[in-house]
């Protein structure tokens, strides 16, 4: 029997080696594998290269991983946010390398890695600083730059449900980088709200087939759903609204 489920986030992140390239899913709070990132911090792997759309917010999750100096290099499209002080400080101190990649090139380069494409010509970034030194080519009258795949040793992603074969479905815009990162990494580790019996997921609607997935761990339902249905009652970061806050918002 194939069983990719594991019992705990500790087991899920076991064996991630120092020096690994680690993709981390999510765009904002949506699809961020919060529990897996915390487990990676506890696990201790260091000298990492991280691929993520951002470079961490506040003091938790990816920002906490950065604060512990576990990350040597980061590839992302948007490291500068109002609360990205951890990255900002490391960057200014020269303690972290940054490869800034336009978001669409980031996505397509990750997709290329999973799909076995050796390199591709992209129209994005042509004539800008971010294409400096890259090979250019005019094809059919339009200028493109050559972009290479981004592969990873490990992907940490979040999905709504998974089964023991590793088949996954996502929720709304939390899908974002999950499916392409799952395919681009040697070992793909997924946290799901819920593990469902094999056969529960409709074959037409599976977004990530299990072939791309190595380990699945259930971390429980998000605060804003109950029994799979959206119930709200949280802020954009997923924090339950205090009663006071809720009534203030209600007044606006």
């Amino acid at each position: 029997m194939i069983d990719k489920t594991v019992a705990s986030v500790e087991e899920a992140v076991a064996g991630i080696r120092d020096g690994s390239t680690v993709m981390i899913g999510g765009f904002g709070r949506a699809g961020q594998p919060v529990e897996l990132i915390d487990a990676l911090i506890a696990q201790g792997a260091t000298d990492l290269t991280v691929v993520n759309n951002n470079a961490g917010n506040g003091d938790v999750g990816l920002a906490a991983l950065l604060a512990k100096k576990r990350v040597r290099r980061i590839l992302c499209s948007f490291p500068r946010q109002h609360d990205s002080w951890v990255f900002d400080e490391l960057y200014r101190a020269g303690e972290i390398e940054l490869e800034l990649v336009p978001q669409g090139n980031l996505a397509e380069r990750i997709r290329a890695a999973g799909a076995g494409v050796g390199a591709f010509f992209s129209p994005t970034g042509v004539g800008t600083q971010l294409a400096e030194g890259k090979e250019e080519r005019v094809i059919d009258g339009r200028t493109y730059v050559l972009e290479y795949p981004i592969k990873a040793d490990v992907a940490l992603i979040s999905a709504r449900q998974g089964d023991r074969w590793g088949n996954l479905v996502y929720r709304e815009t939390a899908r974002n980088f999950g499916p392409i990162m799952a395919a681009a990494a040697t070992t793909t580790i997924v946290q799901v709200d819920e593990i469902v019996p094999l056969g529960s997921l409709e074959p037409e609607t599976i977004v990530t087939p299990g072939i791309f997935v190595d380990r699945v761990v259930a971390v429980g339902e998000r605060a804003w759903t109950r029994g799979g249905d959206f119930v709200g009652g949280v802020d954009i970061e997923g924090r339950p609204l205090a009663d006071a806050t809720a009534s203030r918002e209600g007044d606006q």
């Binding site: 900002d88 996505a107 994005t124 709304e172 997923g238």
Partner: protein, 232 residues
Amino acid sequence: MTTDQPTATRVSRDELAARIAADIPEGSYVNLGIGAPTLVADFLPDDLEIILHTENGMLGMGPKPAPGLVDPDLINAGKQPVTALSGAAYFHHADSFGMMRGGHLDVCVLGAFQVSQDGDLANWSTGAPGAIPAVGGAMDLAIGAKNVYVMTDLLTKTGESKLVEQCTYPLTGVGCVTRVYTDHAIFDVTPDGFAVREAFGDNTVESLAELTGLRLREAAASASSTGQGTED
């Protein structure tokens, strides 16, 4: 440019958003960039179906949710909570940017630091030393629609024209902007530089030329309007 110009008529940001909204035909697929362009959504007529794309993986984006119904899994590219309309669809990031890069969007509305008369756009970096660079989807959006509209004040806070002969800020995209909506006037980008499509209030081609320091001309009367999604 100096700041002691006589104050010309300007439209408010809301008025400008309404003006852009009015130029978007029903059935268009539209991406509204982060910041001021987001305002355009508030002025799209309720009785017309215009489909909003958000590059983090959705078509058919609806307005912000009611209080208490924020869904952290349902956000726009600016990481603000949104809703889904009937007919919405979700997809992953590579499909979403492929949709853009493949030229399937009709209109994209973006902010700008500068737009050159060749349609070059600078909106991602001021090039200030020591600043943390961040580009997000800006470069993809710049090249990713049949019509790339810029929404911006004509002048910076210090009175310099954002329409320029050549961008001095780092470029986001080359020759990509098709039209610029400013608080003073609407400009088309043409092979001969900027053409004034519509001057608001007491602005004239001449006064705008003086404000921008550019050679300007009037836009041809019946330039083609925004293309439709289908070719029927």
